[in-house]
């Protein structure tokens, strides 16, 4: 699994580290890690609906922040559980532009093993960095 949960750093909330060979892979892993806090088994989320997500930011870490916030937004506003399947990041002048395709379905407490709600991404110890192996992010989400 390209993400792991961290036990010690978030007393009242959930923390994870996501990694990937490329920035895109790591972003997708971080999306799954966020969704996995709420849904016990991500494989139970069927590909019934699709959403295109575009966000931009002048900093790479805030780009990830905005993307994860979008997933939380869809979960509340449309009750959609989404998994990102395709994602590209490009630069335009000073800004990073992210385009993503996400699949998913409406949440169903009988079908999905719903654990605990994620309500926000926090900036506490929030980090995106390049490592010798690729890219890594540390994220704490508010529960």
């Amino acid at each position: 699994m390209p993400y792991e949960y961290l036990d010690e750093i978030a007393t009242a909330d959930a923390a994870f580290k996501a990694s990937g060979d490329t920035l895109e892979e790591m972003f997708i892993a971080a999306c799954d890690a966020t969704m996995n806090v709420m849904v016990g088994d991500l494989e139970t989320i069927a590909h019934e609906q699709q959403r295109s997500i575009s966000v931009s930011s002048d900093a790479i870490d805030m780009l990830l922040f905005e993307l994860l916030q979008e997933l939380i937004y869809y979960k509340d506003a449309e009750k959609l559980l989404l998994r990102v399947c395709r994602l590209s990041i490009s630069r335009q002048d000073e800004a990073f532009i992210l385009q993503a395709d996400a699949h998913g379905e409406e949440l169903n407490m009988h079908k999905h093993d719903l654990v605990v709600d994620v309500k926000a991404v926090t900036l506490h110890r929030f980090r995106v960095e390049q490592t010798p192996e690729g890219w890594e992010a540390t994220v704490i989400v508010d529960i």
Binding site: D7, G40, K75, D76, V115, K119, T122, H124, I143
Partner: protein, 485 residues
Amino acid sequence: MAAVKDFIKVSDSIWEIPATYKDGMQVPARIYATEKLLREMDDGVIDQVTNVATLPGILNYAYCMPDGHWGYGFPIGGVAAMDTRSGVISPGGIGFDINCGMRLVRTNLTLEEVQPHLRLLVDRLFERVPAGVGSSGFVKLSQGEFRRVVELGARWCIDNGYGWPEDLERTEEYGCIDGADSSKISTKSVERGYNQIGTLGSGNHYLEIQVVKPENVYDAELAGAFGITKPNQVVVMFHCGSRGFGHQVATEYLQLFLKVMEKKYGITILDRELACAPFNSQEGQDYFAAMKCAINMSFANRQVILHRIREVFSDVFHKGPEELGLHQIYDVAHNTAKLETHMVQGKEREVLVHRKGATRAFGPGNPELPQIYRKTGQPVILGGSMETGSYLLVGVASGAQTFFSTAHGSGRSMSRRQAKKKFQGKKLVHDMEQRGIYVRGVSYAGLAEEAGAAYKNIDDVVAATEQAGISKAVVRFIPIGNVKG
């Protein structure tokens, strides 16, 4: 663990870190705790409370209450009063769940009367007060009407038949804080919140049926003034906030403040979660007006839940809610920033008090209190873990030392992941039932995270607030039924 040597001991329950501890501290920090609680606090608390002390315009001290643990920006349990001219407003000093709070409702029923119906009551409450990930409330609103709700708060609910007029005076800010302006909130925040009125949410949010055992009445006269008069009287307590709406408001303004704080206002901070803006700036005032919308949304949320509780009790006992004595005792907010009048350096003045995981606790005589509580002081509701119990406290005159602020609950001592490893949801539910507590939760894993042993001892927290003179215990409640988000 906190090193006690870093502190100046002011009294047995007040510990000070001088302003020389860290560069940029404008004032010293003060932690309210017994030595035992202080030793149990994580290092994050000390780091964060001293970061708060660096914020522009902070007055007297940066405080942390006895149930403190690390949070985002401010610690949970953090209190800071800001000068309204030179000070800042910070979403990190309020919390993402704006106006997360507690509401306490009494009944005239006793444990003996409720016991035979307990399972049915809890099951019905579980059906009628939606909880958990992605739950929707029964109040169907257009997005336009939701914008009215966030300006009117619980008042909107009373006008629409979800409650009694007396509920308003028994709610902090009378259920509607002035100055909420829905032109300052985004469409996205409305979309996240407009179907969530009347829902508990998840995490540590809950609705509980509790009992007052005669041995747990610490001040019978005050208890009587709050309507607690019978041995084994049953009450209902619940904990929830402004749901996705409040979180979206906080997140958006945090991002805005990060953009303007340094470039436009020349403010540097030690942690991005302490993002802030001058209170008097356009951005600061916009956030203040938007944050008040979330305060009102939360009051409305708890008001609709109270309405549901009255319906359920009526159905189960075949009596009207008036006949069952389902009066609200009080509703307190524990994630806010509000303009209040306090004495500062011998002069009365208006200040902006941030309370994050801390409760306002006005003493007797405060003109903000409704007539019914003017003499007693403000009721303060402290929620404990689902296994151990909760408290009703009251504000006292000596609370002036913390801008009339006290603790808000028991505070976690174990992380969610640790708790999930240590406790099994199913077994926990079984064990609790053996001990006379019937629990319904959306998720067993979610329940395991809320086990009593994952929290600090609430009796210690209350004792510390009493010792320090910031609130006084009235009664302790024991849980018998619990609906968990």
